[in-house]
Symmetry: C2
Subunit: 175 residues, 2 copies
Amino acid sequence: MTHITTGVEYALHCLLFLVDTDEEQPLASARDLAELQGVPADFVAKLFTKLQKAGIVAATEGVRGGFRLARAPERISVLDIVEAIDGQKPLFECRNIRSQCALFEGEAPGWATRGVCSIHAVMLEAEARIRDVMASHTLASLATQVASKTPPEYLRKTLGWLADRAPARTVRAPR
Amino acid sequence: MTHITTGVEYALHCLLFLVDTDEEQPLASARDLAELQGVPADFVAKLFTKLQKAGIVAATEGVRGGFRLARAPERISVLDIVEAIDGQKPLFECRNIRSQCALFEGEAPGWATRGVCSIHAVMLEAEARIRDVMASHTLASLATQVASKTPPEYLRKTLGWLADRAPARTVRAPR
């Protein structure tokens, strides 16, 4: 498993489809977004539970219910999404080997464990740089980049595809 | 498992003990370095095989044999060591979800897969920053930092401890 998981990838792709929806557009369900992209629906449903808990999406219940962004896409960073899905996973776990030297005979002196281990410090610096990069990109900036590479009719078609799913969900609902 | 493994941590700690050795000092074996630090000797031996393959350490055979750095510690970056031990592991593996949209009906148009996916690009940028950080630190710079926190007699004692092991290895060798 890579450090940044497939869950983050699926979540980001799904969320990009929620950036341009307006009041008129029926809300998309996790299943709709999964099927639009050919990814496993059950897995995407779990991702949306995490995104909702993290306050990134909000759900509306009912047959026309579904998900929308809980705040402006300019205020949702890639870091927010990574942490919602993967948690605050460290890049490196320091085992504090410096305290185990045979010369210490089981009792490390104060100087040996004071402050952050110099090796750990390098890893923490690397981790901070990853976080900087991820915090500097937002759903809005990603959506702008994607839109610049995408024919305008594609967005219209995907929103149409999602809207067409809402009545289907109505039909399946108990009366 | 974290992205940067325990193997990297053990390797870095072991290599720091090889920075200040001189011509007079008997070479340390992987087992000596492992036992000095209370870490598993078999695992450390495997790490040294990787470090040797990567041209970071050189081995001298024989009962007084052992490892030394294969080049100046200023020319061994943390990145060199990470790649020797963990390989060039990506932070993120792009599954090219953008090509799977249901609207494409199995055949993604050229624009959908041209260039790097915008999400993948963010991850590649993060990965490049990690590599920058790791390339900017060397065994020499780490050793200087460690030395600044360590009483001078500690280094002398560890070199003495390692030197004392060499005769023991001689005794164990077949005559």
